[in-house]
Structures are given as C-alpha cells and as structure tokens.
C-alpha cells in the first residue's frame, strides 16, 4: 500500500500520553511478540549468545586443549592472526574466492535449472526428482565420489573430454593451481534446495503477465529480465543469503578433497578447515582458533550487511 500523499502531522504528546500509548502498544503488540517469540530469544541466548561469549573469552587466552590453566593475553591472538599468520590470510582469501564464485555459479545454475524445470513437458516430475538427487548423498561420501570422477588420468570427466580430442587434459584437484576451481565446480552441484525455491517462486508468477507480454511482442529474453527476475527478487535475496552462508561455512567437501589439511599446497585451505586444524591438530591451540573464528565472524557480518544493503536495490517487496 502506498503512503497517502498527505502527511499526517503527529501531534506532540505529553509524557503521560506517551506512557499511555506505550502501555497500549504493550497490550496489543509487545506482549504477544514476547509470548510467541520469547522462546526463540531464550534459545538464542542459550545456544548462540552463551557459546559466543565463552568463545570470545577463550580467544583472549592462550589456552590449548591439554593445558589445565590458561594465560590471559588480551588481543595478542587477534594481532597475530591479522599481522603475522600467513596461513590465516591464505585461508580467508581462499574462502572468499570460493564463497563468491561458487555462490554465483550455484545461483545461476539453480535459476537456469528452475526455468528449465518449469517447462510443461511430460515426465517433468521425474526430472525434478532426478535433479534433486545429488542433494541427498551424504556429504562425507560426496567428496570421495567426486574425487574419483575428476581424477585426471582415470576419471570419467577427463575420459569424456578426451573423446573430443583434447590432449592437454586439466589436472583438476591435483594441481594447486586448479584445485580450488575444481572444488568450486563440484560445489555447483549443490543446487538442490535453491533450485526448488526458485522453481516455486517462478511458478508463483501469474500467467497473465507473460500473456500480455507475448501479445505486445516481447521476446523471451526480455520477458525474463522484465517480468521473471523482478518478481522473484525476494526469493533471489533469500537464496543469496543461503548460498553465502553455505559457501562460507563449507567444510565437508574441502575436508575430503584436501585430505583434511588444504592439500595440495594449501590451495584448498578454507577457513573452517584451518580453524579445525589449529584447534585439533598439534599443538591444539584452542584460544587462538577462537580468536580466528571471531575475526571470521566479523568478516561474515560485514558481508551479510553488505548484501542486505544491496538488496534494497533489486528486491521488490510488492507486486500488486
């Protein structure tokens, strides 16, 4: 609903009147917000706030898993991570590259596939099930399957490529140069849920819009950009957030493909892997891992905030 043209002037309230209005608000709104949302707020404090604070305190010490006592070192861990730890910098860089590129490719792939799956052909339901299948393979088995597929000498992918006469076959995950790219490519297969979200969003667009566009002679491409995209923009944003989170927290795939340590040559060293290695491999620096995690969290916060800001430009809230 558009705001009325005439701006209603708010009369100045006296203190008594303001208190009265607050009380009224409480009765009608705030109270119920708390009744319904109370448990979520409690849950947030218990399962997120408490661990985060404890982790923050941990990050100010030099605690290792096996030490009984820990020394307070203030922000030393943070300074070290930012200024001196080359591996930390590398892991952040690899994670950003991975999250952004694979994020974009998953977004594009799932959107295109959603359009494809929207076609009115026979057996479309079967196709939809098939496209969702890669999503249900357990994550720890995924890596091994894909590792075999992308094996440079015996894998199916290179076998197929060589059929086309290509002689200089890519090294995929063996070369430090291309290992991250290979991982990005593999993660593009994770379009399951997002594809269905897009599909449903596209199906939510009323027929008439396309019919009118057809009558006016618009091409399919311009129909896509002028009708489809704007109308699914809220779900687009939803998927963007989802994909970003997935990309930044990606652990299983990198763990399997990198043999748990960023192999080869630290090219697949995503941040969650590096944090895992710091805390659970000798010398088990828990305090330092906590500090790194907090720095990473700040980066994520900034990135998400940025996306929320950008969303103002492309998300249309209403289609009446």
């Amino acid at each position: 609903m558009e705001d009325a043209e005439v701006v209603v002037k708010r009369p100045k309230l006296t203190k008594a009147q303001r208190t009265k209005q607050l009380k009224r608000n409480y009765q009608t709104n705030y109270k119920f917000f708390l009744i319904f949302g109370g448990i979520a707020i409690v849950g947030f404090f218990l399962f997120y706030f408490y661990p985060i604070i404890r982790t923050f305190i941990l990050s100010l010490t030099d605690k290792t898993i096996y030490s009984d006592s820990a020394n307070y070192v203030a922000l030393e861990n943070y300074m070290y991570a930012i200024t001196k730890d080359a591996m930390f910098a590398k892991s952040i860089k690899q994670t950003m590259i991975f999250a952004i590129i694979s994020g974009i490719s998953v977004l594009v792939t799932s959107l295109l596939l959603a359009i494809l799956l929207n076609s009115k052909v026979k057996f479309i339901g079967v196709f939809r099930t098939i496209y969702f299948l890669p999503f249900i393979i357990p994550s720890f088995a995924v890596g091994a399957v894909y590792k075999n597929l992308f094996n440079p000498t015996t894998g199916l992918i290179n076998n197929i490529i060589s059929l086309f006469g290509v002689t200089d076959l890519p090294l995929w995950y063996i070369s430090p140069y291309s290992a991250l790219r290979t991982m990005i490519l593999i993660s593009s297969f994770g379009f399951g849920v997002k594809m269905l979200v897009f599909l449903a969003a596209i199906q939510g667009i009323p027929e008439q819009y396309y019919e009118v566009a057809e009558l006016e002679g618009a091409s399919k491409v311009s129909q896509f950009f002028k009708i489809t995209l704007p109308l699914i923009s809220p779900m687009l944003f939803f998927n963007v957030i989802l994909i970003t989170i997935d990309g930044l927290r990606s652990f299983s795939l990198a763990f399997v493909m990198g043999n748990g340590n960023g192999w080869p040559s630290n090219s697949t060293l995503l941040f969650p892997i590096y944090m895992f290695m710091t805390a659970f491999n000798a010398p088990f620096r828990l305090g330092y891992a906590a500090a790194m995690a907090w720095l990473f969290f700040l980066i994520i916060l900034a990135l998400t905030g940025l996306q929320f800001l950008l969303s103002k430009f492309y998300v249309q809230k209403d289609i009446t």
């Binding site: 917000f33 949302g37 979520a40 661990p51 009115k120 098939i130 399957v145 894998g155 699914i232």
Partner: protein, 301 residues
C-alpha cells in the same frame, strides 16, 4: 500455477516453432539429468566392484562383479544393525521436527505479526549468528551437556536446540509465509473474540502445511546424513544412527593409526545405497507439498 504454453514465440528476435522449443527443452533436460545422475552412476558401479578394484582403482565400468558378495558382507556385518539405526534416527528426527515446527513458527509469527522496538535489529543479529562456524559453538555446548550428565540421555543434545527455535532459516521461511495470510481473516477472528494464541493454533498454523512439509523434508535429509553431531555425543553402538551405517565401512581398516589405510569403497557404496532408499521414497511423495510451500513466499517480500 501453469507454465507458459508453447506457442510460436520470439527468442532474441528469431521465431522458434513449437516443435523446436520442445526438442530444445528435452535436450537440455536430459543433458543436465545425466550430469545430476553421474554421482549416482558412480555409486552404483562402485557397489558392484570387488574390494580391490573399488578401493584402489578408478575404473568407469566394473571389471569385477561382486555385487552380491558386497551386499552379503554389508548386511551380515556384525555391527550393521540398520533397522535399529533407522529407528534411532527417526526418534531424533521426529523430536527435532516437532520442536522446530512448534517453536520456529511461533517465533516467526512474532516477527511477522507484532511490533516490537528494535525488531529488525534483533532479526539481523539472529541471522548473522547463524553464520558462525558451528564447530566452535559446539565446544561450550558440549561441555555443558557433559557437566549436566545429559550427554547420552535419549539423544537430548541432538534435538533439544530445536525446541528453542534455533533454526533461523526456518523462522525466515515461516515468516515469509505468514506475511501472506490475509489480515482480514485474523481481524475477523479477533472480532469474534478469539484470543491471539487461539488464532495462531487454530487458524494460521493449519494454513501453513506446505512449510511444515518443507521442514519435514529438509530435516529428514539433514538428520539422516548428520555424522558429526552423533559422533560428538554418542559412544554406544546401540545408539548409532543412519550416518554411522555408512561410516563404519569407511573406517573398516582404520586400525593401526596410519592415515593411509585402505577404504573399501564397494562396501561404503552398498551401505550408502541401502541408506538412500527411504530418502528417495520420502522425496517422491513430498515433492508437491514442498513446492507448494514456497509458492506463497515469493509474492510478498
């Protein structure tokens, strides 16, 4: 919602006939279907290979045929009690889903329907905490469960969080859906004298069956494949879950402390395929509801 019918339409200025469109569509559908099925193809042929070939070679077509032997080995393996593991997993799944549906819908209702000072900020903070690497949050929480002795009681650590609306993604989903419920309906109920809580349970919630279906599907797959959660809390073999049914074969030869033990991929593949059967069945049934669930979400932001 119907998809646009095939008519003679323009694409980039060129006109494509109905037939060409259909052919193109089928072509791409099948092409990508093959790509999506590749991992499964590999899983199936690996299940057919014998131990040596499956673990040490990456052939694209089995040279040895040991499917029956592999299945026999897996099914009769001493610790492979798949029925029990399935039951355990279902227990966790049901409790988790119930908890989430109840508490997250309530939380979403609060954010969608009622005003509160700083509501947007609260939501943003909750959303961003979701992005913290879970591994780090897990340690203090694990300590808590150990200290209270609840670590291994009825899988509590694995589902208790869902009763506190900790899945922000689901809250997000519910919220979008709630925003599509016509305000008039709720107003009418209020006028009729229904209390807010009653409105929620009797009217709003039943309208949102598709979202519930979504939660069921996502949680089923999530709980089913979750290896790290149980690995942290479960130590008794009797309490193993479905994810264990596959990982026991992965570590079959991990006995000497070396990191280069051989992994019997043939057994792992068979166990994976057995585990996948219920999931595929579930998905084929719930596909329609899941799609419906998100239909309403895109209409209103």
């Amino acid at each position: 919602m119907e998809s646009p019918e095939f008519k003679d339409t323009k694409l980039h200025g060129k006109t494509l006939s109905k037939k060409t469109q259909k052919v193109l569509t089928y072509f791409f559908l099948i092409l990508f279907a093959i790509v999506a099925l590749l991992p499964f193809y590999y899983l199936i042929i690996t299940a057919m290979k014998d131990l040596n070939e499956a673990s040490t070679q990456s052939t694209m077509w089995p040279h040895s045929f040991a499917l029956w032997d592999n299945i026999k080995f897996v099914v009769t393996y001493q610790d492979y009690n798949v029925v029990r593991m399935f039951a355990n997993t279902m227990f966790i799944f049901v409790l988790k889903t119930l908890g989430t549906v109840l508490t997250c819908s309530m939380a979403a209702y609060a954010f969608a329907m009622y005003k509160f000072p700083g509501k947007k900020v609260i939501f943003f903070v909750m959303l961003s905490t979701m992005m913290i690497p879970g591994e780090l949050l897990g340690i203090p929480i694990y300590e808590f469960f150990v200290n209270t002795g609840l670590k291994e009681v009825a899988y509590i650590p694995l589902w208790i969080a869902s009763w506190f609306a900790t899945d922000v993604f689901i809250i997000f989903l519910f919220r979008q859906f709630f925003m599509t419920v016509p305000k008039a309906l709720i107003e009418a109920a209020r006028v009729d004298g229904y209390g807010e809580v009653r409105i929620f349970f009797k009217i709003v919630l039943p309208l949102n069956k598709p979202v519930i279906a979504t939660v069921i599907l996502l949680y089923f797959i999530g709980t089913y494949n979750d290896l790290y959660g149980p690995a942290l809390y479960i130590s008794e073999k009797a309490q193993w879950v479905m994810a264990n049914s596959i990982s026991i074969f992965e570590n079959l030869f991990n006995v000497g402390g070396s990191s280069s033990f051989v992994v019997p991929w043939n057994y792992v593949s068979v166990a994976s395929l057995i585990a996948l059967i219920p999931v595929i069945i579930l998905f084929s049934f719930m596909q329609k509801q899941f799609l419906q669930s998100v239909t309403g979400v895109g209409i209103k932001g």
